[in-house]
C-alpha cells in the first residue's frame, strides 16, 4: 500500500511540475472545472488582491475568502514558481490523505458489518481501495486540473472518518469547513448525524443531535465571521453561495441545470430555480430515514450507505458538478464490495453508460464549441447520460440493500440469496 501511495503522490506531483501547462489546459475543460471551483479564477483573485481590488466585487472569483487568502499568502510568500510547486505538492498530499481515510473507512466498514452480521464478509484489500482512488483517472484529472473540489471532498470524508473515530465535534467541524468551501456538503449533515447516532457512544442520545448541530453551526458561523473580517464586507456570501443557489453562471458543465436554465423562459426561471433547489436535497432525509440502522432488526439499514447515496444524489442534482464528484462516488463504491455489491445487478450497465458518457462528452463538446459541426444538444445528451449513470448507481445500490435486508429479515438461506426473485408492491 505504501508503494502505491508514494506512486500516486509522485504521479500527481511530478506531472504538473514537469509540464506546468497541464493544470491550466485541464482547467479549461468544462467537465473538470466550473466557475465555482476553477483554479484559474482563484489565480485571478490573487491578481485582484495584489492590485488592491476587492475580489468579491464582481469578477470571476467564487471561492471562499479563507481559501483565497490561504493560497494568496502562500503565493506572496513563495513567489510564483515555488507556489506552483507548493500547490502541486499540496494537491498530491490532500489526495493521499483522502485515500488513507478511505482505507480506514473500508477497514472499519468491513469490521463493523462482519460483527453486525456475525459472519466474515468479503473484504477488499487496502491496496485496491487506494488504487481505486489514487489511480481513478477521473480523480487524477480532477487533481491535475487543481480543482478546489478536492478540499471539499477531503473535509467531507474526514467528517465521516471522525464519526468512526468517535469524535463528533471534529466531524462536525470538518463538515462545516467542507460546506463553507462548496455549500453542497451542508446537506450531508443529516445522514452524518444519523450515522453518529448509531456509532458514537454517549450517555444521552440527544447529545449527538444537539451537540452536533451546535458545533456545526458555531464553526460555520466562525468561518463566516472570519471571512467577514477578512473581506470587511458581506459580498462574498452572495458571490460564493448566492451564485450556487441562483445558478448565476451559465457555463456548460456535466450537470442538468445549465441547459435547462439557458433554454428556460424568463418568467419561469425563478420557479424552476426553486424546484431545482428543492430537488437538490429532497431525498436526503428519506434516504437517511430509510437506511437508518433501526434497533428493531440487527442488520437492517446502513448508515454509511446512506451517506454514500446522499452524496450520489447531491452530485446528480448539483448546479455545478464535475466529473470529480462522480469519480469520487466511484472510488467509494468498492467499500461496499462485501455487503451490497453482491446484490447489485446493474454494475456493468452503469460502467458502460459511464464510459460512453466519458468518451463522448469531450468529443461532442469539441464539435459544438470548436468545430461548429455539432450543437449544444450533442453535449447536452451526454449530460443526460451522466444523469443516467447517477440514477443507475442510486437504484442499483438502494435495491441491493433492500434485497439484502429482505433476505436478512426473512432469513433466506445463503444459497438462495442471489437467485431469489423479488419485486415491489
Amino acid at each position: 500500500m505504501n508503494k502505491l501511495l508514494v506512486f500516486g503522490v509522485i504521479l500527481r506531483f511530478i506531472i504538473p511540475t514537469i509540464f506546468p501547462d497541464i493544470p491550466d489546459s485541464l482547467d479549461s475543460l468544462v467537465e473538470l472545472s466550473t466557475p465555482i471551483n476553477s483554479f484559474g479564477s482563484l489565480k485571478e483573485s490573487f491578481f485582484y488582491l495584489s492590485n488592491g481590488i476587492n475580489p468579491y466585487n464582481g469578477g470571476i472569483n467564487h471561492h471562499s475568502p479563507l481559501l483565497v487568502s490561504f493560497f494568496y499568502n502562500f503565493q506572496q510568500l513563495l513567489g510564483n514558481n515555488m507556489f506552483t510547486i507548493f500547490t502541486n505538492f499540496l494537491y498530491a498530499l490532500v489526495d493521499a490523505l483522502i485515500s488513507l481515510r478511505l482505507v480506514k473507512i473500508n477497514n472499519w466498514y468491513h469490521k463493523y458489518n462482519s460483527e453486525r452480521r456475525g459472519e466474515k464478509l468479503y473484504k477488499i484489500s487496502d491496496d485496491l481501495i487506494v488504487s481505486f482512488y489514487l489511480f481513478n483517472p477521473l480523480m487524477i484529472l480532477s487533481t491535475l486540473s487543481h480543482s478546489t473540489l478536492i478540499f471539499s471532498l477531503f473535509f467531507t470524508i474526514e467528517s465521516v472518518y471522525q464519526i468512526i473515530n468517535g469524535n463528533l465535534p471534529r466531524s462536525m467541524i470538518s463538515l462545516s469547513i467542507s460546506s463553507y468551501l462548496s455549500l453542497t456538503p451542508i446537506y450531508l449533515i443529516f445522514p452524518i448525524l444519523a450515522f453518529a447516532h448509531r456509532l458514537i457512544k454517549v450517555d444521552q442520545l440527544s447529545q449527538i443531535y444537539f451537540h452536533g448541530s451546535a458545533v456545526f453551526i458555531t464553526s460555520i458561523g466562525l468561518l463566516l465571521f472570519f471571512s467577514l473580517i477578512l473581506t470587511s464586507s458581506a459580498e462574498f456570501i452572495d458571490q460564493c453561495y448566492g451564485t450556487v443557489i441562483r445558478f448565476d453562471k451559465l457555463q456548460p458543465n456535466i450537470g442538468l441545470w445549465w441547459y435547462f436554465f439557458t433554454e428556460m423562459f424568463d418568467f419561469f426561471t425563478p420557479f424552476y430555480l426553486g424546484v431545482f433547489n428543492l430537488f437538490h436535497f429532497i431525498f436526503i432525509l428519506p434516504i437517511t430515514i430509510r437506511l437508518f440502522e433501526y434497533k428493531s432488526h440487527k442488520t437492517v439499514g446502513d448508515g454509511f450507505l446512506a451517506i454514500f447515496l446522499c452524496y450520489v444524489w447531491l452530485s446528480f442534482t448539483k448546479p455545478y458538478p464535475t466529473i470529480g464528484d462522480l469519480g469520487f462516488s466511484i472510488s467509494l463504491m468498492p467499500i461496499f464490495s462485501g455487503t451490497i455489491i453482491p446484490y447489485c445487478k446493474l454494475i456493468h450497465i452503469t460502467g458502460i453508460v459511464w464510459l460512453i458518457g466519458l468518451l463522448l462528452s469531450p468529443i461532442l463538446y469539441y464539435c459544438w464549441i470548436v468545430l461548429g459541426n455539432g450543437n449544444a444538444n450533442f453535449f447536452y445528451s451526454m449530460n443526460l447520460l451522466f444523469g443516467a449513470v447517477h440514477i443507475l448507481i442510486l437504484i442499483d445500490f438502494l435495491w441491493g440493500k433492500l434485497v439484502s435486508d429482505y433476505c436478512d429479515i426473512h432469513k433466506v438461506p445463503a444459497k438462495d440469496r442471489h437467485t431469489i426473485r423479488l419485486t415491489q408492491y
Binding site: 468544462v30 484559474g40 479564477s41 485571478e44 490573487f46 491578481f47 492590485n51 481590488i53 466585487n57 464582481g58 469578477g59 470571476i60 450517555d203 444521552q204 442520545l205 440527544s206 443531535y209 453562471k249 451559465l250 457555463q251 456548460p252 442538468l256 441547459y259 435547462f260 436554465f261 439557458t262 433554454e263 428556460m264 423562459f265 424568463d266 430537488f279 429532497i282 431525498f283 434516504i287 430515514i289 430509510r290 437508518f292 433501526y294 428493531s296 444524489w313 459544438w368 464549441i369 470548436v370 461548429g372 450543437n375 449544444a376 444538444n377 447536452y380 444523469g387 443516467a388 442510486l394 437504484i395 438502494l398 433492500l402 434485497v403 426473485r421 423479488l422 419485486t423 415491489q424 408492491y425
Partner: protein
C-alpha cells in the same frame, strides 16, 4: 421699440461671433480625399443651475444654438456632451494621424460620454439615462439601449473639465458605446437640423448621406461644452464631419451608376512597356491624372455662403500638379500659396473644379505617433483573448492610457496578461501600470480597465490576455446569434506632462459566443424533466414500497381487483406503520435521554 432695435443690432454684430463653419479638403495617397467639415455654434450667455428633477428651461432664446438641445442639457444637468458616430477603419499607416488629433472622432459605432453634475453617482446615472434616452429619439440611434451593463465611469482617458459644479455637487464623467450601431442618413438629418443653416446653405449643403456614408471612413461628432465666466455661462457646440472619400469610386459611380460593371476594353489602362494587345493587358496602378469637381464628389454644389452677409471658408491643401478652377462667387484669401482659402459669398451655387496632373503629389502626411491594433485570439466559442499591439513610431518615448471596457459576457482573466517587446517576453509591469480595473458583474456592469503604458522609441509592445465567453440566456441572444457580438473599441489617449496630445481608437471586435439550439426549449424542459422524474420516481418507489417475492406478487395479481387494492393498501399501511414505529422509537429514546438528563 428701443429694445427691438437693440436686439437686432446685437444679432447682427454678434452673428459672426456665434457661428462659424469651414470645409477643409486634403488629398491623401491612392486618390483619396479627406474632407473635414467643421461647424461651431455658441449660445447666448445664460445662467446654468443644477435641477434635481428637470425644469422648464429659463432660457427661451438661443440664437444660433439649437433650441432643441439647450433644454435637454439643462434638464439632465449635462455640462459637457460628446457624441460620436463613426464607421470604417482609419488606416493609420497610410493616412497618418486622425484629424484634430483624434479628439473629434470616435470608434466604430456610436459613442457617447458626458459630464453630468449631480450630488451622487446614482443621481448622475439617472440624469445620464434621461440624457441618453432623449438623444436616442433625437438622433434616431439606439442610444436608448444604454444601460448599466455598458455604462462606465472613466477616470482619466476622457477628462477635460471646464465647468465648476455647485459646492454640494460633483461632476461625473459617464461613458457608453454601442459598437454595432450602423451609421446612416437618419443620423445625419438630425445632425444637420442642429445647424442654423439646416444644411441648406454654406458648406453643410454638401452633406448628402448617400455620398458621405459611401466613404472609406467617416465620423460625425458633436461636442458641447459649458464655458463660464463667473456665473454667466454659454454652451459651445462643435459639430464636425470627417470623411475619407474614395475619388475613383465616386467618379465611377457618377459615370456608371451604383452597380459596378466590368471595365470596357478601351478604358483599360495597360502597361505599355509590357506586351499588350487586345487579349493581353498588364494593368497599371491608379491613374495619376484626374479631373473632377465638388459636385461629383458630394453630389451637390455648395449653395452659397451660410448667411448672405457671411463668409464660408473652404480650404484646400494642395501641391504642385493641382490646378483649381476658381468660379464666380469665390474669393481667394492668399494667406499661403499652398493652402489657399476660398471664401464663399452670396447665394449662388458654387462648384470647385479640380484638375490634377499628378495625384501622387500631395502634402506630407503627419505620421501617427502610435499605431495600435487589437485582434482576437483563440479559435473556440467558449474561450478567447485579445492581442493588442502598440508601435511607437516616434523618436521619443510615448506615454498613454489604454481604456478598455469589455461586455460582461467576456469574463476577463487579467492574471493572464503577458507582454512582449519586439518579440521578447518581458515583465509587463516594466511597461504597463494597471491604473484602474473594475471587474464586470453579470448583466449589471461591464469590465472597465485603464492601463498606463509607456513605450520607448521605435519599439513595439504586444499585450496578450485571455477571457472566457459566457453562455447567455435563450432570450438574450439577438435574432442573428451566430453573427457575433461587438466589443467596443479601446480608447488610447496619448499624453505628456502638459496634457492630452492625441487620441485614437482600435477597431471594434466581433466575438462569437457559444449558442444553444434555439429550437429546443420545450425539448430540453421535457428531457431534463424526464431524467429528473425518472430518478425521483424510481427512488421514491424503492424507498416506500414493500418488498415481496415474485411468487407472492403473482398470487396477489391473480386475485380480483378489490382484493388487490385491499392488499396494496394493507402493504402501504404496514410499511408506513413500521417506518413511523421506527421513527417514534428513535424519537422516544431521544426524549427519554432528554428526560433522564
Amino acid at each position: 421699440m428701443n429694445f427691438w432695435v437693440f436686439l437686432s443690432l446685437l444679432w447682427v454684430s454678434l452673428a459672426h461671433q456665434y457661428y462659424n463653419e469651414s470645409l477643409e479638403i486634403t488629398p491623401l495617397p491612392r486618390n483619396n480625399l479627406l474632407a473635414q467639415f467643421e461647424f461651431e455654434v455658441k449660445s447666448l450667455p445664460q445662467e446654468i443651475k443644477y435641477h434635481e428633477n428637470g425644469t422648464e428651461s429659463s432660457t427661451t432664446h438661443y440664437t444660433y444654438f439649437p433650441r432643441s438641445v439647450g433644454p435637454l442639457l439643462e434638464n439632465s444637468n449635462t455640462r459637457e456632451l460628446h457624441l460620436r458616430f463613426t464607421q470604417g477603419w482609419w488606416d493609420a499607416e497610410l493616412w497618418g494621424k486622425v484629424p484634430s488629433d483624434g479628439k473629434k472622432s470616435g470608434g466604430t459605432g456610436v459613442e457617447l460620454w458626458a459630464i453630468i453634475e449631480a450630488p451622487s453617482s446614482s443621481q448622475a446615472l439617472k440624469h445620464w439615462y434621461k440624457l441618453s434616452k432623449s438623444l436616442s429619439g433625437f438622433f434616431c440611434a439606439s442610444l436608448n439601449f444604454i444601460d448599466d451593463s455598458i455604462t462606465t465611469f472613466p477616470l482619466s482617458s476622457f477628462a477635460e473639465e471646464s465647468f465648476k459644479a455647485d459646492e454640494a455637487n460633483k461632476l461625473f464623467l459617464i461613458r457608453a458605446a454601442l459598437p454595432s450601431e450602423p451609421i446612416c442618413t437618419e443620423n445625419l438629418t438630425p445632425f444637420l437640423k442642429l445647424l442654423p443653416t439646416r444644411g441648406k446653405a454654406g458648406v453643410s449643403s454638401l452633406l448628402d448621406g448617400h455620398k458621405i456614408f459611401d466613404s472609406l471612413w467617416h465620423s460625425m461628432s458633436i461636442d458641447i461644452k459649458t464655458q463660464c465666466v463667473d456665473d454667466v455661462c454659454n454652451y459651445q457646440m462643435d459639430q464636425s464631419i470627417y470623411a475619407i472619400i474614395d475619388v475613383p469610386r465616386c467618379l465611377r459611380k457618377h459615370e456608371e451608376g451604383a452597380i459596378a460593371k466590368p471595365i470596357q476594353g478601351e478604358n483599360l489602362r495597360c502597361d505599355t512597356t509590357k506586351d499588350h494587345d487586345i487579349w493581353k493587358c498588364f494593368p497599371l496602378g491608379l491613374p495619376t491624372e484626374l479631373n473632377y469637381d465638388l459636385e461629383t464628389i458630394f453630389g451637390r454644389p455648395i449653395r452659397g455662403s451660410c448667411f448672405t452677409d457671411e463668409v464660408s471658408p473652404v480650404k484646400v491643401n494642395f501641391k504642385d500638379g493641382w490646378k483649381i478652377d476658381i468660379k464666380e462667387g469665390l474669393n481667394i484669401n492668399t494667406l499661403s500659396s499652398d493652402h489657399p482659402i476660398y471664401e464663399i459669398k452670396g447665394t449662388k451655387p458654387v462648384n470647385i473644379d479640380f484638375n490634377i496632373s499628378n495625384t501622387t503629389n500631395i502634402p506630407k502626411i503627419e505620421a501617427a505617433p502610435l499605431i495600435v491594433s487589437r485582434s482576437l485570439t483563440g479559435y473556440s466559442q467558449d474561450k478567447g483573448g485579445f492581442r493588442v499591439s502598440f508601435t511607437n513610431t516616434q523618436d521619443n518615448e510615448v506615454k498613454f492610457i489604454y481604456f478598455e471596457s469589455l461586455p460582461w459576457f467576456t469574463r476577463l482573466y487579467l492574471n493572464t496578461l503577458r507582454a512582449t517587446v519586439d518579440g521578447k517576453e518581458v515583465d509587463f509591469s516594466d511597461y504597463v501600470h494597471l491604473k484602474h480595473y473594475l471587474p464586470a458583474i453579470d448583466r449589471k456592469r461591464p469590465s472597465h480597465m485603464e492601463l498606463e503604458v509607456i513605450i520607448p522609441a521605435h519599439k513595439t509592445l504586444i499585450l496578450n490576455y485571455k477571457f472566457d465567453k459566457s453562455l447567455l440566456l435563450y432570450a438574450e441572444y439577438p435574432p442573428d446569434a451566430n453573427h457575433g457580438f461587438s466589443v467596443e473599441p479601446a480608447v488610447i489617449t496619448v499624453f505628456n506632462d502638459s496634457g492630452k496630445l492625441f487620441e485614437l481608437r482600435t477597431t471594434s471586435s466581433l466575438i462569437t459566443l457559444p449558442t444553444p439550439d434555439f429550437s429546443m426549449p420545450y425539448n430540453v424542459i421535457i428531457l431534463t424533466g424526464t431524467v429528473m422524474s425518472l430518478a425521483f420516481g424510481s427512488v421514491v418507489n424503492l424507498l416506500i414500497k414493500d418488498i415481496i417475492t415474485e411468487e407472492e406478487y403473482e398470487k396477489l395479481a391473480a386475485q380480483g381487483k378489490l382484493q388487490k387494492l385491499i392488499a396494496k393498501i394493507r402493504f402501504r399501511i404496514k410499511f408506513v406503520v413500521t417506518t413511523i414505529k421506527n421513527i417514534i422509537f428513535n424519537v422516544k429514546s431521544l426524549i427519554a435521554s432528554l428526560v433522564r438528563k
